[in-house]
């Protein structure tokens, strides 16, 4: 089904890679009530565009990503992927999770190869490709290690290779570098930008770190504190590419934009904390 659709559709269309239109997300609570996490979210990510969503903790950023991935169905509104309304899992997207999502019983190489094997690629071929991908993320000699033998940063690299080997048209990332230390985050950010530069996929990147968002993205979208979080701001980042994450943070334009966005984000962060404490 999807294959025929993909064959008919031209490689690049005018349709947005991801288009959320008036999306509401609601969860049923244990006491029978309904918790409205996200309200009326409208967001377009063009093909080849790198968009970050920034917001205070618990505002529903990850929820929005799960909607785009098709892991969660919206309570209202619709999701279009390259012009086609999403009804099931988003087959065009790769998802890099915040928590550890590697298969602990598979080696690094098997973890990377699995996405191709499930799609029907012969094992030998998939493993050969996986080996190349491991080299691209700088872990060429770690193929026979199991995830527990690797550091957090190395596991994230494997995760990145695991997703990218399938060549998804859309990349969804849920605070992928959140648990890493500052230096590793910077290195991972540059690695991500390098890999992304090669074929410019549409990226939806969720983070709570405004600096990271500005350094990586073409656009930064701000969400308000939950419940019923809304999208309250949308900034274009006019910094030149290719970028180096460490250097770009010294750019005056970076500072101006950071100050401007932070003005809005600050009040939401404070609101978010107040609500978290009241809960």
């Amino acid at each position: 089904m999807t294959e025929t659709a993909a064959a008919i559709a031209p490689a690049r269309t005018n349709d947005a890679a991801v288009a959320l239109d008036g999306v509401d997300v609601a969860f049923r609570l244990a006491d029978g009530g309904v918790y409205r996490a996200v309200a009326n979210a409208t967001l377009k990510v063009a093909d080849g565009e790198f968009v970050s969503i920034v917001g205070p903790t618990g505002c529903g950023k990850s929820t929005l990503l799960n909607i785009a991935a098709g892991l969660l169905a919206p309570a209202a509104g619709r999701v279009d992927i390259f012009g086609t309304t999403l009804a099931t899992l988003n087959r065009q997207a790769g998802y890099l999770f915040q928590a550890d999502a590697l298969f602990p019983w598979k080696t690094a190489l098997e973890n990377v190869a699995i996405g191709m094997e499930t799609a029907g690629t012969p094992q030998d071929e998939a493993r050969a490709r996986a080996g190349k991908w491991l080299t691209r993320v700088g872990l060429g000699s770690f193929g026979d290690r199991y995830p527990h033998m690797l550091s957090g940063g190395q596991r994230k690299r494997i995760g990145l290779a695991q997703v990218l080997i399938r060549d998804p048209k859309i990349l969804l990332m849920d605070e992928p570098f959140g648990p890493l230390d500052a230096q590793t985050r910077q290195i991972m950010g540059n690695l991500l930008l390098d890999l992304w530069n090669a074929d410019r996929k549409a990226v939806l990147f969720v983070t709570h770190d405004l600096e990271e968002a500005i350094a990586l993205s073409d656009r930064v979208v701000i969400m308000s504190a939950g419940p019923a979080a809304r999208i309250i701001g949308d900034w274009r980042v006019k910094l030149s590419r290719p970028r180096d994450i460490a250097e770009i943070k010294l750019d005056p334009a970076f500072h101006d934009l950071h100050r401007e966005i932070w003005q809005m984000l600050k009040s939401e962060v404070i609101k978010g904390y107040a609500q978290a404490e009241a809960r």
Partner: protein
Amino acid sequence: MSRVKLTFLQVMVAVVSLAIWHILTTYPVFGRMILPPFFFSNPVEVVKQIYVWFATGVIWKHLYVTLIEAMLAFAIGSVGGVLVGFWFARQPRTAAVFDPYVKMANALPRVVLAPIFTLWLGLGIWSKVALGVTLVFFIVFFNVYQGVKEVSPTVLANARMLGMSERQLMRHVYWPSALSWMFSSLHTSVGFAVVGAVVGEYLGAAAGLGYLIQQAEGVFDVAGVFAGMFVLAAFVIVIDTVVTIVEKRLLVWRPVVGEARP
């Protein structure tokens, strides 16, 4: 503590215990034997008995029978536990319907089933196998059920995003997870397979370690009972060592507690 010292101390525990046992059953204290040899025998007699068993070769037949019974109980109980565990975990409705009966059957002390099995299956090995199966089945079943249920939601979501079909999820996610839980209970389930075999033999059999102990007890041959116990203990240690080796090979992907990162 160095390895040599540790081994030395471990051996000393056995030597001292045996010495105390020997002295208290051989030499009277204030004209009284603290451990009457009739009830406690003594280490020399026990060793003699064990020597006779091995020298004449009588023991091999009994060891063989117990081993076969335990292995069959383990194999049949495991296969049953895996199948039912998977089935229940994937069909919550079926699991809900059978839940009270599973709990009931598991709460039942399995020894009471032994007479029934003897009636149904006779005095041969199958009545002991059946008893072992009832013990092994539940351990494996609960572990597999848990293993399938407790797959990390993130790993599951990742697998689905990587395009796995329901069958591929089975093979690459649920199955390894369930197996890892099952393997981590390998010591318990193998141990219970032996327990089932020995208890079954004790309650009525024509061969096996349990039978040997029961026969000795029947003629007040305390040395024979102790000898049987020691042989059984050694037998269980050997099996446990084999299980440890197998486990290490199967769970190579698992972190060992306290293991440093290379």
